[in-house]
Each structure stands twice: as C-alpha cells, then as structure tokens.
C-alpha cells in the first residue's frame, strides 16, 4: 500500500524539479513581455501558451513553483523552528505555568482564521513574499507546538525516559536527545501537510495581491490576473489552477503515505 507515497512523491518531485531547474533554465525569460504574442493557447512554441502580456506561461509556472515552494518551505521552517521547542518545553513542564502559557498562547493564535490574520499582517507590514512567509509561519507555530507536546507527553511516561532521568540528564537534554527523535515521524508527516497548506496560503495571499509582488511570478497572482479573462482565455486560469491542485494533492498524498510508512502502530496493524 505504498501507492499514495509513490504517486505523491512523483507529483511533489515534479514540482520540486521544475522549481530547481528554473534556477538554471526556463524555455523563455519568465518576465519577457511580447505583447503582440499575447493570449496564445498552448502550442509547440509555448507549451502552456502565453499570458496577457505575451509572457511564456510554462516559464512562469516553473518560476512560480520556486516562489510557492520557497514561501511554503520557509513558513514551515518558522513553524517548526519555533513550534517544536515550545511543544517540547510545554511537555517537559507539564501542568506548570509555562505549559499553560505556551498552550493558551497557541489557542489564541489558533482561534483566529489563519488566512484573515495573514491578510492583516501583510496589509499592516506591507505586501511581499517576506511578510507572507512570516504570516504563514506564525500560523504554523501552534500546529507544531501541539503535535510535539502531544507526542512528547506520552513519551515522558515511558521507561527509557525514566532511565535517562535517573541517570541525571536535564529535561532539556532529554527533550532533545530522546523525545525529539521519537516524535520526528509525527513532525515529518505534519510538516508535509503544513507544506501543502502553506502553498495554498501563499496562493491565497498572492491572489488578493498580498504575496510575492510583480514581476516575481506567483501562481496565486496568475489566477487573479486571469480572472477577467477566463471567458475568452481559460488556459490563463486553468494552468496555474492545476499547478496548485497537483502540488497540494501530491504533498497530501505524500503526507498520508509517509504516515502509513513511518507510523509503527499502523504498520503493526497491517501486518
């Protein structure tokens, strides 16, 4: 039953590959406008057609993949980088004021609709990829803090942790040397899911004009630009739309597949 993992892996690697290749090669300069050639449907010269400025859509999708992946990756990085230590600390001091503070803080962030707050952040601090990363990143913190704490709490009851305690290790050392490696599976799976949500959030922010600014291509903005042209040039919306769908689908399948593969309990049940 590795189908999910393989299909998800293939889709995700395709996107990743497109993003990586775009650093060294794209069929055309993604920013080069050629207005007489505008709104071409996909053809031999322009595989995905051209947009309303005559730019090559294939090149834009490739570079747009880079934007999406970079924003999502950094946002997940922020979420993990801050959320995981917070979750570990909360679990190590279960029931203490620190635990309460961290978890109620998380509740507070969770209570807000994430995209609305991301819009608020970018509206206040200015639109741009940097602020989009921070905005999406902030909403990843409680996700990782909770999942880390949840995983860590049960581990703290286990004998090998007891043994480490008896051996005189500090709770910080125990958290990083014993707890963290044992919740890594959870984090990888959650990270994949959050990554796909990050891509959606980036597309959403760009769609309302608060993500990466032109001329940096972004799938969300390509969709927004296409909006008034859907009726006569549907490929302008369909192509970035499919790019987003396939990427998110790929990452979700991969996340599911990874969970099945990494989670020992599920593996035992199947066996």
């Amino acid at each position: 039953m590795r189908r999910n993992l393989i299909l998800g892996g293939i889709l995700s690697s395709l996107v990743l590959l497109a993003a990586l290749i775009s650093f060294v090669w794209t069929p055309y300069d993604h920013a080069a406008m050629n207005i007489p050639d505008k709104l071409q449907i996909p053809n031999a010269q322009h595989w995905f057609g051209t947009d309303h400025f005559g730019r090559d859509m294939f090149s834009m999708i490739m570079v747009g993949a880079r934007t999406s992946l970079a924003v999502a990756l950094l946002a997940v990085g922020i979420g993990m980088g801050l959320g995981v230590p917070l979750g570990l600390a909360a679990a190590a001091r279960k029931g203490s004021w620190l635990d309460e503070l961290i978890m109620r803080g998380n509740d507070l962030v969770f209570a807000f609709p994430s995209l609305i707050i991301a819009i608020l952040i970018t509206a206040v601090f200015g639109a741009g990829a940097g602020n989009a990363i921070i905005a999406i990143g902030i909403f990843n913190i409680p996700v990782f803090a909770r999942i880390t704490r949840g995983g860590a709490l049960s581990l703290w009851e286990r004998e090998f942790i007891m043994a480490a305690r008896v051996a005189g290790k500090s709770s910080t050392r125990i958290s990083y040397e014993h707890i963290l490696p044992n919740v890594a599976n959870l984090l990888i799976v959650q990270g994949t899911i959050q990554f796909s949500l990050g891509i959606l959030a980036e597309a959403g922010l760009s769609y309302v004009g608060l993500g990466a600014q032109p001329p940096t291509p972004s799938w969300g903005r390509m969709l927004a630009d296409a909006q008034t042209m859907v009726s006569f040039a549907p490929h302008l919306a369909l192509i970035p739309g499919f790019a987003i769908i396939l990427t998110v689908l790929g990452l979700n399948l991969m996340g599911d597949g990874l969970r099945d593969w990494l989670d020992p309990r599920l593996r035992v049940r199947r066996a």
């Binding site: 406008m33 207005i35 600014q213 909006q227 008034t228």
Partner: protein, 496 residues
C-alpha cells in the same frame, strides 16, 4: 385531480405572461446604470470625488453653464450672458421659472450664495481655483446676477460648467451630503449606501423633461462582477466598464452595444521632479524614451486609448502631437542615462493605484525600464494609500495615474503639486493664459505650454484614457465621450 393539474399548468403560464408585460412596461421608463465607484457623499461642491458627479451632474444638479457630451459648453441655468468690454464683468441672465426639487424658486440670490460659498475662505470646494478670480457677485434683480473678476479670464464660462460650480440653495445646503436638492431633470429619491442611488423624473423641470421616469445607479467595483452583471442583464448600462479585455465579447453579442469614446484622462507616468535622480531632465528623458506606448495600450488596455506626448487631450483643437518627442528608443535612453552618470541604471519605486491602466501598465513599464537598466520596484497601493503616500506625502519615485479633470495643464504651474515641477517660465505662461481671452492667442499659448512640458520631460506621457461603456442594445442617448465625469441621463431613452 384534473382540476388541480389544470391549475398547475395555468399558474406558471399566467405568471410568465404577467412578467412579460411587466418587463416591457419597465423597459420603457426606467434604467439601471452601473458604475465602479460609489460616491462618498452627494455634494459635488465639496469633494474631489468624481463619483459624485458621475451620478448627479446634469441629472440632479445644474450650473450656470454646462458641458454637452461633445465637450462644448452651452447655457445652463444662465439663459444668456453679457461680457463687459474689459472682460471683467459677466452679467448672467437666468432662466425663468426654475425651481429646486424642494419647491423653492432658484434665483439670483442662490447663484450669489453658491459662488460666495465656493470662493469663501473656509470653502471646502475641491476646485477653488475655478472661483479664485471672482471679486464680487452682485444680485441685480431676481433673474440677473453680475459677477466681477479681478482680471479677464478666458475660461470663466468653461469653469462655471464644472460639477464643482453647480447651483445649490441655502435652504437645502445643510443636508446636501445625504439629500441633494438641485434643479435638474431628475430628483434624488434614495441612497442605500453600499448598493444603489435612485433618482426619478422631475415633473416640474424648467427645460426639456427627461424621457425616463426613474433611474437606479448601482455600484460594482469588482471587474469580474461587473462582467457578470452585464452578461446576466442585471444592469442596463455599465458606465466606465473596468475591464477592456471583455469588450470584444460584448461587441460580438447582439444584446449589447459598446460605446468607445474619449475622456479627459491623460494617463501619465509621473516622476517626482524634486527627487534624485528625477531632478535631472536627462534621466526623465531617458525614462520617456524607454517606454513603448503602443505596448502599454495593447497590453494594459487591450488597444483602447490614444497615445499622447504631452499633458493634453488629443480631441482638443489646441492639441499638439508631441509623441515623436519621446519616441520609443531604448538605445537613446541608455545613452542619456550614461550622460547623466547613471550608465549602470538605478533603482526606484513605482507606486500603482488599483485601476488596470496602472496595475497592468505598471508591470509593462517596469519591464520596459528594466531593459535600459532602471529597476523599478512595483508597489501596489489602494487609493487611500496612494493619496497619502504619493499625492500628499510626495514620497515616491514614479507612479501611474490618469488625470481626469478637463483642461488641467495648469497643474504644471503648481510647484507644490505632487510631481513637483517648478518652472517659473511655465508659471508665467499660465498666468498669461488665464488673462487671455482671444481664442487664437489662447490656442497659441496652450500649444507653447504643451511643448514646454514635453521638452522638459516632466512626466512620461502614455495615453488618453478611453471612455468605455457597455449598454443594452436598446438604450439611446448616452454620452459616448466623457468631457467631464458625468452619466447624463436627461436625453436617454429606450428604443422601440
């Protein structure tokens, strides 16, 4: 059972008949006009917002003179006028029997009130300059008013046609922002904020009565929603259609007619003339030569728009075609940058307000500037932010905006105006122009003014904004051109 079935069949059939009759009756005497922007309030004499005039000009409010759809200025509430030999005194003879919508009589006292209010020290009129030369307004008799100027003003009658100079009454001035009372062929009925404004025929109108009984203005800001509303025939007219890319579809559809005319909107790439490096004329010239106007018109406006080479409307008889002065020539542009000591280019900002001429045009311009080494960082802003940062704060490098006021070349004589062009010779020229009444001399001066700003490359002159409207095929009498911001419905009717 049979009984019931019969009723079931007849019921809908009757309903259809009824709606057909109602539909036809409605189609003849009322109209739904959509536009993008909703007015902030309804007093045209105390705000710069063009949306106010778009709803009320000519329909509800009238001035001493008025604009026609072709841009000409004709008598309005003033039937005739005499101008003294020295050009300093205008004696207006008002139309007889004009009443405001609240029933009060419009007479010379109202004219005096309006003009005195507009030129007062504490006036909040957005175009105080229109009234600046007035030294005295005197009521001669109820139908005659004498206006004295400090010096001859060749455009005084033109000025009095503006929406900012419409005649208002002292009795109704307090509530004018919510409940406008004018003299027009339509009277205001209701305003549901965020949705619509309704006006209806004024049965006591002094002039040619309106043909329509009722008109509803709807406000649809989103271009996609605008397209859907017209396609679904939810609105009868969309005045100032925001998405030029959709017009070919309307043109191909027999249900609709597309009106393409000209506006007074000079769409320009404004440069901050006081900020380095744009304080150097060579740099501004380099920017001008880096721009391919046709690409912008085709790419941003889908072909709608007329290239301009100076800040003047091409349909005006005094227009000089100076587009050759700043022809697309990237090599020339690079050379000029090198001469200015910026051979490696430079970085600047490009503030873009929401309309597609700015957002799309800006993307194209940024790409064109990049070709000559100028890196313009695009900053998309909302209108409020644009007014704050660019217009008032003057904190920008480049910006794109359409200057929609008619005959507004005079803004180049205001050194504090946001692009901060400070040329005493030009200011002198404008002073002379204002004092000149001879038409030939005025034309010559206007031509000189156009050439001066084009040679100084004050701003990048892009194109004259097209007036784009879509209407159902049966609608007649709409303005094609937009000599001022107005949706004059007084002559509009339905075919058949």
């Amino acid at each position: 059972m049979t009984h019931l079935q019969t009723r079931r069949r007849v019921g809908p059939a009757l309903a259809i008949c009824a709606s057909m009759i109602a539909g036809q009756a409605l189609a003849q005497d009322d109209i739904i006009v959509a536009m993008q922007l909703e007015p902030p309030h309804l007093d045209p004499t105390s705000a710069a917002a063009g949306a106010i005039d778009s709803v009320l000009y000519s329909n509800v409010f009238e001035g001493l003179t008025r604009f026609m759809g072709d841009g000409s200025v004709v008598p309005g509430l003033a039937k005739t006028w005499d101008i003294s030999e020295d050009g300093l005194t205008y004696t207006f003879h008002l139309q007889d029997g004009v009443t405001f919508h609240d029933g009060t009589v419009m007479d010379a006292a109202d004219v005096k009130f309006t003009l005195d209010r507009a030129r007062a020290e504490d006036s909040v009129n957005a175009q105080k300059a229109l009234f600046a030369g007035i030294t005295d307004v005197m009521v001669v008799d109820p139908l005659t008013v004498k206006v004295t100027l400090d010096k001859p003003n060749g455009s005084f009658l033109f000025n009095m046609a503006w929406g900012d100079a419409v005649i208002v009454a002292p009795d109704s001035i307090d509530d004018i922002k919510q409940k406008p009372v004018g003299t027009g062929a339509f009277k205001f009925v209701e305003w549901s904020a965020g949705d619509k404004i309704v006006i209806e025929k004024n049965p006591d109108y002094w002039g040619t009565p309106a043909i329509l009984d009722k008109a509803t203005f709807k406000f649809i800001s989103d271009p996609t929603a605008a397209f859907a509303a017209v396609m679904a025939e939810d609105v009868d007219v969309f005045s100032g259609f925001p998405a030029p890319e959709n017009l070919p579809q309307f043109e191909a559809d027999p249900r609709f007619q597309v009106l393409v005319g000209s506006t007074e909107g000079e769409t320009i790439l404004s440069a901050n003339n006081k900020q380095a490096p744009f304080d150097n004329v060579k740099v501004r010239q380099a920017v001008a030569h880096a721009i391919d106007r046709q690409a912008i018109i085709d790419g941003a406006m889908f072909g709608y728009g007329t290239p301009i080479g100076t800040h003047f409307a091409p349909h005006n008889p005094a227009y000089v075609d100076l587009t050759g002065n700043s022809a697309f020539d990237p090599e020339m542009s690079k050379k000029l940058l090198a001469e200015a000591g910026l051979a490696d280019g430079f970085e600047t900002t490009l503030h873009l307000p929401p309309p597609s001429y700015a957002r799309r045009g800006g993307e194209i311009i940024a790409a064109q500037l990049a070709q000559v080494g100028i890196k313009a960082e695009i900053i998309n802003v909302e209108w409020a932010q644009w007014l704050e940062t660019v217009f008032r704060g003057k904190n920008f490098g480049l910006t794109i905006v359409s200057h929609t006021e008619p005959m507004d070349i005079g803004i180049y004589a205001r050194p504090e105006y946001y692009f901060q062009y400070d040329n005493p010779a030009f200011q002198e020229l404008m002073t002379t122009l204002t004092a000149t009444t001879d038409p030939d001399q005025r034309t010559a001066l206007l031509k000189e003014a156009q050439t001066t700003i084009a040679n100084d490359y004050v701003n990048g002159y892009l194109f004259q904004l097209a007036a784009l409207s879509v209407a159902k095929a049966g609608v007649q009498g709409l303005w094609t051109n937009a000599p001022t911001q107005a949706t004059d419905l007084t002559a509009v009717s339905w075919d058949k």
